[in-house]
Subunit: 286 residues, 4 copies
Amino acid sequence: MHRDRFYTLAASCPDRTGIIARVTGFIAEHKGWVLESSFHADDEAGRYFMRIEVKADSLPFDLAGFCGRFAPIAAELKMDWKISDSAVKKRVVIMVSKQEHCLYDLLARWQSKELDIEIPCVISNHDTFKGFVEWHGIPFHHVPVTPENKPASYAEVQRLFEEARGDTMVLARYMQILSPELCAAHPGKILNIHHSFLPSFVGARPYHQAFQRGVKLIGATCHYVTAELDQGPIIEQDVIRIDHSDSPDDMVRYGKDIEKTVLARGLRYHLEDRVLVHGNKTVVFR
Amino acid sequence: MHRDRFYTLAASCPDRTGIIARVTGFIAEHKGWVLESSFHADDEAGRYFMRIEVKADSLPFDLAGFCGRFAPIAAELKMDWKISDSAVKKRVVIMVSKQEHCLYDLLARWQSKELDIEIPCVISNHDTFKGFVEWHGIPFHHVPVTPENKPASYAEVQRLFEEARGDTMVLARYMQILSPELCAAHPGKILNIHHSFLPSFVGARPYHQAFQRGVKLIGATCHYVTAELDQGPIIEQDVIRIDHSDSPDDMVRYGKDIEKTVLARGLRYHLEDRVLVHGNKTVVFR
Amino acid sequence: MHRDRFYTLAASCPDRTGIIARVTGFIAEHKGWVLESSFHADDEAGRYFMRIEVKADSLPFDLAGFCGRFAPIAAELKMDWKISDSAVKKRVVIMVSKQEHCLYDLLARWQSKELDIEIPCVISNHDTFKGFVEWHGIPFHHVPVTPENKPASYAEVQRLFEEARGDTMVLARYMQILSPELCAAHPGKILNIHHSFLPSFVGARPYHQAFQRGVKLIGATCHYVTAELDQGPIIEQDVIRIDHSDSPDDMVRYGKDIEKTVLARGLRYHLEDRVLVHGNKTVVFR
Amino acid sequence: MHRDRFYTLAASCPDRTGIIARVTGFIAEHKGWVLESSFHADDEAGRYFMRIEVKADSLPFDLAGFCGRFAPIAAELKMDWKISDSAVKKRVVIMVSKQEHCLYDLLARWQSKELDIEIPCVISNHDTFKGFVEWHGIPFHHVPVTPENKPASYAEVQRLFEEARGDTMVLARYMQILSPELCAAHPGKILNIHHSFLPSFVGARPYHQAFQRGVKLIGATCHYVTAELDQGPIIEQDVIRIDHSDSPDDMVRYGKDIEKTVLARGLRYHLEDRVLVHGNKTVVFR
């Protein structure tokens, strides 16, 4: 939690000697003040990951200046990279159905500025939360989804997301499966919270599956959405203890506490550019 | 989570042989169907604790009938006892200051009926959440507290609580210390969430105390309020891992997630009559 | 943890009214002092579970006397029941391969009398721990297992278990799959520790499976062994947090800490007759 | 977990721009391959911390060569630094009294090479574990401690530690308070496991203190020993859930599982030079 404006560089490249020196040397050369830095070598993949926060006003140029000067180094290192500015708020579109817990939780974090984001709109397949969302001064779009209208509905969701200039879409217990086209159009931008400890209990009614199997812990998983259901890269997970006295309804109730916490943590990591995806796995620099 | 109406007997008495048999014998004699039952012998105190849920329509009498017939047995066993009816919603008055997280969390649980209670009013020493609370159709009382007006303010809080026929008062990060009179007037009815793992870091700014001590986990404690600050019987606690990279501000943020969960769990135990106080300790039949 | 001798009744029966009253009434009638008691109604299965500890010297008869007098009640309630005597140590045969952690852990608990059991022998498919086990005064049997000799080997294991009058067999990271015959011969008596959070990652090399999937927590599961691999009733589970920096080898190392704790907890529940199996699920009265 | 030999640099210095670039630039200049690197800025203290692992055979010089070339840079940055060689095993002296759990746990980890250390000797104020330790081929010294002989006893402990050329002394539930002289002679080298979640329950019988206070979680703390009892820098902590049914004896039993895990984790961090002390706090680069 830094009060001063800073730039965040998140990058990965093939591993070799001298990567940190090359990147931090560039920053030091311009008197950049490093607030936080994390590095990781994936030995199996031969790939190097990094995330560096630099105080904006310690540099003699702005973000565009940084990018222009850094680009040749990134090219030399064959880097995938992005850089963000803490002064530019991310725009997060929330998708919700009829369950309160994640929506209330996200809006409380937004109200208190714990999540320092813009929420340009909330989209739902029900109108349950229209009043609640609008009370917060946030536009609410009701986009019903029926077996018949799915392509049109998801086209409308995509249009609204783009119109809102969304950076991130959060499925806050949105109980519909997005179309493969929508998923493919925004890789690494759509986060879901699945109400099981993946890879256990993929698909529908995971708490009932958990009840039948007699597990002693239940969990939740925040992951990026890909075309394959519940198979995207995992960002964050957690579990909670249950026992034989808990019915599926009790599990649903316990699970909500894990779901909202895991979603909020995963979303924060994502928004702070702490998550780097490689294949179907994530590096999360906490 | 039972759909059918039930009565909950919560009781304690000096330990001796035959207690369970005596109590469950009475229930069985009237064909009462026991949904859930828990028993605990405190060997050190020589005291016996129990909680029994009986299906209401399995009995040939109503709650008053139950009480009338059970009273002689309770007297014989020298019991402290109470019995509640699942069809009568508990009335919970929420006290709040300027922090969102516990208030949003409790209202989300109330909206979804996870907490099946009445909230007759919210009282605050600030008017920050007036609009939010009233949007939910709940009366909001602004009772400012200053160093000068404390006795009058707490008298007003007590008047409002009694006017609202409150069963329980929840300090949902209410940042004032209640008067000893108010505490003494409602023993076992006022719940607080303290933002540390008690008995560590009693009093003000516990996260800053934790930061100075360099602990590796921080916690929260839900307890009954007594006249002695942060010393009442503990109902529930939990912790979350931190590390050297976390500032006091980060700890405050992490702590909120624990605070709201611990408060909600403690409140649920309390409302379901799962908490029996003995001296400065609690038996919690989860 | 009771110092006095006690009997433990563990039982289940079809649910109806009056079960607790009938059983505890019998105990009370004979002035039995109940130390601990737990009850559970499985609404879905319509079955009732209980576990009661009675102080031995509070009763006017011995264990045989208890059984004789209780049998008619059990028959009336259509009960599956067993009763054990805390003065009779359970006999636990440990099966091990080449990994230290669970074996050292169990022997430490046995040495300190935390596990108050007899260990009549340790059986292994390797001779790695022969000296260590014998130093503790425990017989060690080396029963090699090869693809060719499996039937003979498992026959020998079964012979040794029976010769040792074993009550319980613990697979303490025993890296062979027992024969279906052996499993079937001792239902509810063979405990395994599986190194994943089941049902995730059944079978071989679960930590490598977990690494490939990119999960953020890994776990361990203590379960009863049945003929179907890793599918038996789960007794206890736990997890530990990992991150992107952990290799499969790191996970193996972290996992050991969970495995030995989960196995020890599951074994304790089993030995104290806290585990009641129903179908493929367990009731665990902690 | 790296199979190749590597050097580990652990250092701290006043914060300024260019520190990472200066240090990693030096490594890159000599073609050093960085396996793992961690950095932390303590804003409050204005101090910078780092830990870097470099593959030994990627460098054109040995450890002495590294030190000689790095010294001027360290001087320029006003660094406190140390560097270790993964090929040189740390020498860990274990102190124990009469409880098994930590001793068995550490020796199991040593046997399996999970802890790749030398244990030159075990020292105890009792002879309980003489046979067990010697069976492992480790010398055992019985140094009784009585109220009268303390100075002489601790002088003997110190002599044995120095004779053994110990790097680290581990108090594995050693139930005596070391002399201030002994503590002062080896700052940052003596690790203790305290059986409470510090700062709660300092001093004797913490589980009984916890029982009296009625806490719902108990914990353990691994910390460096300083002259002030239970006040040294905390390395690692963890907790476990208990409830009203747990006696102080039960808590002792639960606590052991946390104690040995927390001690093993803390010791590992220490041995891998992941712990940097600053004042009474630690940076732990996990």
